[in-house]
């Protein structure tokens, strides 16, 4: 049983023509795009903060054209999924459980995880619970470990200040500084107004961007932090991925997940290819260099696991 999704505004159709389906996961409605051959290998394209499935709009057509089944969920709290206003529905463990539920209900097997930002740990975290069904992994500007925090995430100007207790409610919720400007201000390509709006209109409603604040607060900085244990559990199981074809794709110009993060991932996943780097791209490399990165992924999948599951 799932409720319907909020209607999309007319102006969005030209930019994001796909129908989103609704599925109920852990009591919340999750929205997802499901395009391409139903018998093709499922590729789960996972976004992070503060974006939604719109980030992968340049990935859906080439993957579908190459015979893959592109599945793009919006995390609960983001995009067109339900937006619970409670912290406890938006922990790492909860997000992971939501995705596992989607995988199970869609009976996905021999699938591929493509994750960036929070799409990395949450996607890999979910895959680790269904490891026998994971066939390949693509990681882009993300992290899967504790013990290293880069300059951006440890800096008080602005990062730790603008999501601090109470102070974060002022900047993030009252002023929506991240949900309304986060995607567009770091764009290398220069977004059109309509594209910027496509990212932030899902958070126009007051208090709807709870997840945009809980995500920064879940980045584990010290042992005991919210999210530390979830991340540590993923980190400890990374050796189990040794047999899974893995590709690292990186935008070294991103000041959030710098190339240091790629190096650390490479140490933890020595079998991974890459990092395959893309210039003229920042944190949201899928938006800056979408078609190029999509073809790189198609090439990697064709070469390693192929379109047929």
């Amino acid at each position: 049983m799932s409720r319907g999704l909020r209607a999309k505004p007319g102006w969005l159709a030209g930019l994001f023509p796909w129908e989103q389906h609704a599925i109920s996961v852990n009591g919340r409605t999750m929205a997802y795009v499901d395009e391409g051959d139903r018998d093709g290998r499922p590729v789960l394209l996972l976004h992070g903060n503060p974006t939604w499935g719109f980030l992968y709009r340049d990935f859906v057509p080439p993957l579908a054209a190459a015979g893959y089944r592109a599945i793009v969920p919006d995390w609960v709290g983001a995009g067109y999924s339900d937006k619970p206003r409670v912290d406890s529905a938006l922990t790492t463990a909860h997000h992971i459980a939501d995705l596992v539920s989607l995988m199970d209900q869609l009976r996905l097997r021999r699938f591929v995880i493509v994750g960036q930002d929070w799409g990395g740990p949450q996607g890999v975290g979910a895959a680790m619970q269904r490891l026998e069904r994971l066939d390949a992994l693509v990681l882009m500007n993300t992290w899967l470990f504790t013990g290293y925090v880069g300059r951006f995430h440890s800096s008080p100007r602005p990062w730790t200040t603008w999501h601090a207790p109470l102070v974060g409610q002022f900047f993030m919720k009252r002023h929506k500084v991240l949900s309304h400007a986060g995607a567009s201000i770091v764009s290398r390509r220069g977004m059109t107004d309509a594209e910027a709006r496509a990212y932030h209109h899902v958070y126009d409603e007051p208090d709807s961007d709870h997840v945009v604040l809980t995500w920064p607060r879940t980045i584990p900085m010290r042992e005991g932090d919210r999210g530390w244990q979830d991340m540590l559990a993923i980190e400890r199981r990374l050796p189990e991925l040794a047999g899974i074809p893995t590709l690292l794709i990186w935008a070294p110009e991103d000041n959030v997940f710098t190339i240091d993060y790629a190096s650390r991932l490479k140490e933890l996943l020595p079998h991974a290819e890459g990092p395959l780097t893309f210039d003229n791209a920042a944190h949201f490399l899928q938006d800056d260099r979408g078609p190029d990165i999509a073809s790189a992924i198609v090439e990697f999948l064709d070469r390693t696991v192929g379109r047929s599951p």
């Binding site: 409670v86 912290d87 406890s88 008080p156 100007r157 602005p158 730790t160 200040t161 603008w162 601090a164 207790p165 109470l166 102070v167 409610q169 002022f170 900047f171 919720k173 009252r174 002023h175 929506k176 500084v177 309304h180 400007a181 201000i185 607060r217 919210r226």
Partner: protein
């Protein structure tokens, strides 16, 4: 941030509006503990008043862990009024955020300000000033060659608004405050005689005269007018003030006296009051509120049916001691090129608190208690022919203990400064000289 304890009576006139809602403070126990220590409690509310005189509360809630888990910030607004301008709330919440940064170990107060600036530049959000287009300024050319008012305007900036005043003479300040629906021009007959005995300062209240005029209703509240005038006095650093006031000049000025009595030396109140909405009984046994009789209630009703004020016509009708020339009458319309400029003028009659739960009534009630304790010498020149404030003199006489003998002004109406300006100024000048202050 200085915590205060508002009275239950004040709180009963306000509504709480949740502004910041923090659900799980206890995931960082050291932060929860720091806030508990700073607030001096684990659960409950601490209150403070902001730079804008708005009342706020931080509410902490302990859900059973032995430390605060919930942390909410509420703004308290007048129950029957819209929210104050968002940029005022933003500035106040930013001050609060800076306070939080001072409380939480590892956070920097300067970082909060810097991040606010960064957010402002990068996203256009977190604006703490008047939004573009929200404030009107009457063009200077409308004030050229006003009959009897050659004084060059001076300006100060109060909360991002330009406030105009004229100044003549020297010595201790004589601060003259106009009311509805006039401006400093009303005092032109009184400036020369009083400039001979002191430094006359005549400001235009925000929304009037040459001062800036926010367009939106919610920019103006009784509390805001009082705050602006207090900040004006601080900006010019006026002390030993003789306050001269009429109509809303008194409603505003008397509140400022109660807030900073140490800055005032004498008080001249004319055809005004400090209504707290309490029921009084006139000598004739008629029930009134705060000395506001039927004539005021009639004016209040009439004024609120107007879409726009025709100031020249209104003033020609109201001035009775002498005939206003067309040019003089036009000077009262000069500040208002169109109705958008009249927001404050159209609001003021409605903002007079006539019931105890109206915005400002509680503050006036509290101010009266302070005023009762002052030794301030008070002169009450009162127009014999002003029906609107007729009973007000008796009310003020019952508040101030050091009043000069009654000074009824024959033939004068509500705008006593027009009807008998020179005469009243003469009385005031003599009284000032006969009433030395320490």
């Amino acid at each position: 941030m200085k915590f205060i304890t508002p009275s239950g009576q004040e709180l009963s006139c306000l509504r709480a509006d949740p502004l910041l809602v923090e659900q799980e403070l206890d995931v960082r126990p050291e932060v929860a503990r720091a806030l508990e220590n700073a607030a001096g409690m684990r659960a409950g509310r601490v209150f403070w008043r902001s730079e804008h005189d708005h009342l706020y509360a931080l509410e902490l809630g302990d859900l059973g862990r032995g430390l605060p888990s919930l942390a909410n910030v509420y703004g308290f607004w007048d129950r029957y009024e819209p929210r104050p301008p968002e940029h005022e709330i933003d500035a106040d919440l930013l001050d609060f955020s800076v306070w939080v940064a001072g409380v939480i170990e590892g956070m920097g107060e300067a970082d909060v300000r810097l991040v606010a600036q960064f957010a402002q530049q990068q996203t256009g959000r977190v604006k703490v000033t008047w939004p573009e287009g929200s404030v009107l300024r009457t063009p200077d050319e409308r004030f050229v060659d006003l009959p009897g008012y050659p004084y060059p305007p001076r300006y100060v900036e109060i909360e991002g608004l330009r406030m105009a005043y004229v100044e003549e003479g020297s010595g201790d300040p004589i601060l003259m405050l106009h009311g509805e629906p006039t401006w400093g021009y009303l005092y032109r007959h009184m400036i020369p005689p009083l400039a001979a005995v002191g430094r006359v300062i005549v400001p235009d209240q925000i929304g009037f005269g040459r001062s800036d005029k926010p367009v939106a209703d919610n920019a103006y509240s009784y509390r805001a007018f009082v705050r602006w005038m207090r900040k004006f006095i601080f900006e010019l650093d006026l002390t030993r003030i003789t306050l001269v006031c009429q109509d809303w000049g008194g409603l505003v000025g008397l509140r400022v006296v109660a807030q900073v009595p140490e800055r005032f030396a004498r008080l001249v109140a004319m055809n005004t009051g400090i209504p707290d909405g309490q029921v009084t009984r006139s000598e004739a046994g008629v029930v009134e509120r705060s000395g506001l009789g039927g004539a005021f209630m009639q004016w209040r009703r009439l004024s609120q049916r107007q879409k726009e004020f025709d100031l020249p016509a209104m003033m020609k009708t109201a001035v009775r001691g002498r005939a206003l020339s067309d040019a003089e009458a036009a000077a009262y319309g000069a500040p208002f090129p169109s109705v958008e400029y009249q927001t404050a003028a159209l609001l003021w009659p409605r903002q007079v608190p006539v019931r105890p739960d109206h915005p400002g009534a509680y503050e006036n009630h509290a101010a009266i208690q302070t005023l009762r304790g002052l030794e301030l010498p008070v002169l009450l020149p009162w127009a014999e022919g002003d029906a609107i404030t007729r009973a007000g003199e008796g009310v003020l006489r019952s508040i101030f203990r050091n009043c000069a003998p009654p000074l009824p002004i024959k033939g004068a109406g509500h705008f006593i400064q027009e009807d008998a300006g020179e005469e009243v100024a003469g009385h005031i000048a003599r009284w000032i000289q006969q009433t030395p202050v320490a």
